[in-house]
């Protein structure tokens, strides 16, 4: 691809080829991928390993490291995908994951992935890795987009100055991947000693500081023991200069001595300036721009980030997605319903044993089938949401709402967790790892269950379709907007009770607009939809059978009103009677704790819809106002088991999931009452 690079490679491999034969065999050579968020690390990881990790067009998706393997020629490599970071300090948990990994040096090579259109911001990481004496291959990715923008990357200045291999890649078009493999192969086989190491030339003042620091440190045995990882290649003094003593905790007496020798603040400023200059020199000498500053992306950005229009267009987009979901899915959903009803009718005729007949027809087909008819809605919604997300549009809301979010004590970043939460709360809660502010993080974790996850969708669709079919999309939009407001208000509320404050500024980077590939969209839709299908065959099926049994016994289906199921629901009747919810509604809600879809399947069973439609049965029981109250209750009440377990593991305490259990239910009950009251006035 470029002369400078090839030469340096040849040069290097010529004296290491001999080693090729006796090392590569049967060895697992560990390599890791690191880089800023959203530069294409996971995409490259997937290409190299053939894995299907979740790739999204926004920062903060990979928060834990992922491992895969691949073979090239005679060598086997173990590849680790790290979370996206800007620097390696310990300020947030994802950075810590990356830093701990890098510092422990159990790997051979680090592939630093940089974004061709934003080289500068990767350079900090690059220099830091060099300072840590890590073996680096620099992959400048998204080279297709750079070309499109009329930007040519010439890596030879970087190769010559820093003495590292550089490959230009595109995870989109596959360009440069073969070359990357070849470089990895050659580089991993050259023995560590024979690799030319880069020594960064610091300004004299900094050099002097590094020297004195190390001399001083040698008088402190505890430093030698506790910071052995940092001492190699004099990383400790540089790290200290860059990030201060916060997460280092060097001995006090040592710091005192150091302070008498140097003016640390001045030195820090000098170091920072040197770094910035060095980086801008490197970058400007590697980029050639042609063409004028204009692209369709900039045009879209200009309007879509407008502080009023941006939000309006955003709401419009969501509205369109919801309308499409209802309109497109309805005919398909009707067909499925027809299929289930005829299957039920047929089976009810051929199964002679009464209890088995009831179990299969009313329990399994009525219940699970009642949920499965929503497959079209769920897949279509995910498809369009996937499109918005992958194109980079959805995550932009984070930018638009940043100011609003700040007044709730959150940052725009947290909005991305809410969006993730629309799919499933579990990854949403895990994604809060990127939030450095502990107070903000805890408040968000405890409020994220209010993000309306996809499991609640069947309940909404059932009730909206039954009671509000003429304004279906609008009501759904209202629910999702309320869900966002609920998360925001709840975190503001909870933050009042969480003591501990530190304010860490948050920089949002806008993901670029990209046309999603159909393949990515298909993977996205399938991954999320698959989850729904698995649940239908698992927890939903089990719960439905249990509910059927509870409604069938003890009087063998003669009188459902005195069954066990009725007993459970009736306990709550005093609380829900004024809302117009009878015991069947309550029993469904109780079992919905297992999985929200179970609310729908249990209604199918409890309302005993063999032939007639569930909608019809519900219309006889609920008024529109009590249905709306029910919708909002389902939106807010107890998260599923998986979410509670995640809260436990992320907060390391049982206190918080138990708190969430009560907190969400109380709030849900309050909201249901308010909605019922207001709904009673308007509808």
């Amino acid at each position: 691809m470029n002369k400078g690079h090839d030469q340096s490679q040849d040069h290097e491999s010529s004296n290491t080829n001999v080693l090729t034969l006796d090392t590569g065999q049967n060895q697992n050579i560990e390599i890791s991928i690191i880089g800023n968020p959203n530069v294409g690390k996971t995409s490259l990881f997937n290409i190299l390993t053939g894995a299907k990790q979740y790739v999204a067009n926004w920062p903060g998706v990979t928060v834990e490291k992922k491992v895969g393997t691949f073979k090239y020629k005679d060598a086997t490599f173990k590849l680790v995908d790290l979370p996206g970071v800007y620097t390696l300090s310990s300020k947030s948990e994802d950075e810590k994951v990356a830093k701990d990994y890098i510092i422990n040096k159990n790997y051979e090579i680090v592939i630093l992935v940089a974004d061709a259109l934003n080289l500068e911001s990767s350079m900090f990481l690059l220099l830091q890795l060099l300072e840590m004496n890590v073996n680096i291959i620099l992959a400048i990715n998204a080279i297709d987009e750079a070309k499109e923008k009329g930007r040519i990357i010439v890596p030879s200045p970087i190769i010559k100055t820093l003495n590292i291999p550089v490959v230009l890649t595109s995870a989109r078009t596959g360009e440069g991947i073969d070359e990357l493999l070849e470089v990895i192969y050659k580089y991993s086989l050259s023995k560590t000693k024979s690799r030319v190491k880069t020594r960064i030339k610091y300004p004299p003042n900094i050099d002097k500081f590094i020297q004195s620091f190390m001399e001083l440190a040698s008088n402190y045995p505890e430093i030698k023991i506790n910071y052995s990882n940092y001492l190699e290649n004099n990383w400790l003094p540089v790290y200290f200069l860059e990030f201060g003593n916060e997460d280092l905790n060097l001995p006090k007496s040592f710091l005192k001595e150091l302070e008498t020798l140097f003016d640390l603040d001045n030195l820090r400023a000098e170091y920072t300036k040197w770094k910035l200059d060095f980086i801008s020199y490197l970058v400007s000498s590697s980029i050639i721009n042609e063409g004028i500053d204009w692209s369709l992306r900039d045009i879209l950005d200009h309007v879509l980030t407008h502080k009023v229009l941006g939000i309006l267009i955003y709401i419009f987009a969501m509205f369109a997605v919801f309308s499409l979901t209802f309109n497109l899915a309805q005919p398909l959903s009707d067909l499925l319903e027809l299929a289930f009803t005829s299957a039920g009718n047929y089976l009810s005729k051929v199964i002679p044993i009464p209890w088995l007949n009831s179990l299969v027809v009313e329990g399994v087909i009525g219940g699970v089938g009642g949920v499965l008819v929503f497959i079209p809605q769920i897949f279509i919604l995910f498809f369009f949401l996937g499109f918005l997300e992958e194109s980079g549009y959805l995550p932009r809301a984070a930018f638009l709402v940043d100011r609003i979010a700040r007044s709730f004590g959150l940052s725009g970043r947290s909005f991305m967790s809410i969006i993730l939460g629309f799919g499933c709360n579990v990854p949403a809660i895990i994604s809060t790892k990127t939030i450095a502010n502990k107070k903000e993080r805890l408040a968000l974790i405890l409020s994220l269950p209010f993000a309306s996850c996809s499991a609640k969708l069947p309940v909404y669709i059932l009730l909206i379709g039954t009671f509000f079919s003429s304004n279906a999309a609008l009501v759904l939009l209202l629910i999702y907007l309320s869900s966002i407001v609920l998360v925001l208000v709840s975190s503001k509320f909870l933050q009042r009770f969480i003591t501990q404050s530190e304010d860490i500024p948050f920089i949002i980077e806008l993901p670029r607009f990209r046309m999603p590939t159909f393949k990515n969209l298909a993977i996205y839709t399938w991954n999320r939809g698959k989850h729904f299908l698995q649940k239908a065959g698992g927890i939903i099926l089990v719960a439905t059978i249990i509910i059927w049994a509870l409604s069938f016994f003890p009087n063998f289906g003669q009188d459902i009103n005195s069954s066990y199921a009725a007993g459970i629901g009736k306990v709550f009747e005093p609380l829900t009677k004024h809302l117009g919810w009878d015991w069947r509604i309550n029993t469904g809600l109780v079992f919905g704790i297992a999985a929200k879809e179970v609310v729908v399947s249990s209604y199918s069973t409890l309302f005993n819809v063999g032939e007639g439609s569930l909608s019809f049965a519900l219309q006889n029981v609920l008024t529109p106002a009590s249905a709306l109250a029910l919708i909002f209750f389902v939106l807010a009440y107890v998260p599923c088991f998986a979410t509670l377990a995640t809260i436990k593991s992320e907060t390391n305490s049982w206190k918080w999931p138990i708190f969430t259990l009560f907190y969400t239910t109380v709030i849900a009950y309050l909201i249901a009452n308010v909605v019922f009251f207001i709904g009673g006035i308007f509808i």
């Binding site: 042609e290 063409g291 004028i292 204009w294 369709l296 900039d298 045009i299 879209l300 200009h302 309007v303 879509l304 407008h306 009023v308 229009l309 309006l312 267009i313 419009f316 509205f319 369109a320 309308s323 499409l324 309109n327 497109l328 309805q330 005919p331 398909l332 009707d334 067909l335 304004n471 999309a473 609008l474």
Partner: protein, 125 residues
């Protein structure tokens, strides 16, 4: 296109008319046309931000018009599954506006490309 204010004016007025025509038909389209009108309207002022400010508002409002038409067409396509051809009534306003939007979008895109070419030529001289 040279006369950007006229284009912006046409878009914002036309979409307002179509919005009114849709009021008794479909709330979604009312929202869509209102949004298009506002987007075009914002194009009149704030020119000094970037040089392509007006073009951007023209292009985004026409894109919204195209998306709205795509929405209508998708709906028609899917309802073919369940109902007869004769029962389907397409919303002509949306389709007319969509076609106008396509023309405006392409014209504006070509105009911007032309500027780009000229700038390149000047640079290489």
């Amino acid at each position: 296109m040279k006369n950007k204010n006229i284009i912006l004016l046409i878009i914002s007025i036309l979409s307002l008319i179509f919005m009114i025509l849709n009021i008794s038909i479909n709330f979604f389209y009312v929202f869509a046309f209102l949004l298009i009108s506002i987007t075009a309207f914002y194009g009149f002022s704030g020119e000094n931000e970037v040089w392509y400010h007006k073009s951007a508002h023209i292009m985004v409002s026409s894109l919204l018009g195209i998306f709205t038409m795509a929405y209508e067409l998708l709906g028609i396509l899917f309802s073919l599954i369940s109902s007869e051809l004769s029962n389907i009534k397409p919303n002509i306003y949306v389709i007319i506006f969509g076609i106008i939007s396509i023309v405006i979008f392409i014209e504006e895109l070509n105009y911007l490309k032309k500027i780009e070419q000229e700038a390149k030529r000047k640079k290489s001289l």
